[in-house]
Amino acid sequence: MCTVCGCGGHSVEDQFKAHLEKTGQAKAAAPLAVLAGAQAHPHGHTHGPACSHEPQDFHIGQGPAGTEVAGMSQARLIEIETDILSKNNDFARANRAALAARGVFATNLVSSPGSGKTTLLCRTIEMLGAQPLGVIEGDQQTTNDADRIRATGAAAIQVNTGKGCHLDGRMVAMALERLPLDPGALLFIENVGNLVCPAAFDLGEDAKVAILSVTEGEDKPLKYPDMFAAAGLAILNKTDLAPHCDVDLGLYEANIRRVNPGIEVLRVSARTGEGMGAWIDWLKRGLAAKAL
């Protein structure tokens, strides 16, 4: 319909014909050129006696793209409208479906290097006892972390990303092919220590868990907001060190919630075991929600 007075149909041509008839300007020259503010492009067909077009008429949006953009040649504009990370998201979707089919609850553990992810995991595995689980370890180099996990008796696959700064959906798909996971297992994916890039790459996990140790500074969630915004749970780790570091645990939590008002926050010390019970309960609730 005409955006000037509301008359007419949906195409530009209908709108203007109706509008011009209504306003008595049907003989006005090339009114569409005024609307489009553009030069007429070649018509693409010849005008014989049977053609009803006026020679000055032209038609917008009939090229392959169905639209026109100033400065772009009509015949060569191809609409893509595809997510840049669509390949990654396809892998993540397949991972998520495969894990759901086995009733597995998967967490993607993200943090800076040195926040205590691997120590937290080793302690978690000890406390979980006979619970079936598997671990995917992401690092740029070495199998140190997978070796530490395997020392607890748990199955672990190390993914070395080389120069890469994050795990992606395909790496996790490859790791899952090699990792034996019982139905109803917990899967821990320990991402590369990096608070920036892993936020953007879905791996097919149920939740991202951001781990922040008390020595890193209360303003870290404000400095690296993307990761805390993407996480469902934040673990404030190494709380046993808090009295020695003059830190304000309340301010840590307030800053995390400022970036993500809906996030859950747990205060944990993997070393002393403080708060570990709440973390184990959180995992068991997640697993129960995935039960087949």
Partner: protein, 113 residues
């Protein structure tokens, strides 16, 4: 830092489109990037030039369309537009804002030969 991976994602989408639609060269790529997507346009521009070498989009012009950041304010329950993730609510001044979009990373269209 992951602009390189993003550029590789763009290359793979373009190569799929080139096979499907049969074009040999891309002269312009338009992206829509949300304000909260965590993408640095300058870094992406650089990565794009490097990653597209040897592809149908080598030397193509990259245009980035900036999409606004929107967030739900937990204090006044309004959907507001904000510039940065940590900006206060422009309506009530509240600081508890949950992003509701603005993390888009899309290839909008291509100009091809």
């Amino acid at each position: 830092m992951h602009e390189m991976s993003i550029a590789e994602g763009i290359r793979s989408v373009i190569e799929d489109a080139a096979r499907a639609q049969g074009f040999a060269r891309v002269t312009r790529v338009r992206l829509e990037i949300g304000r909260f997507a965590g993408v640095e346009p300058q870094a992406l521009d650089f990565a794009f030039d490097v990653v597209m070498r040897g592809s149908v989009a080598e030397g193509a012009d990259l245009q980035i369309i900036d999409l606004p950041g929107r967030a739900m304010c937990f204090d006044c329950a309004e959907l507001v537009e904000i510039e940065h993730r940590l900006d206060p609510c422009p309506k009530c001044g509240g600081s508890r804002l949950l992003p509701q979009g603005g993390d888009e990373m899309r290839i909008k269209d291509l100009e091809v030969l």
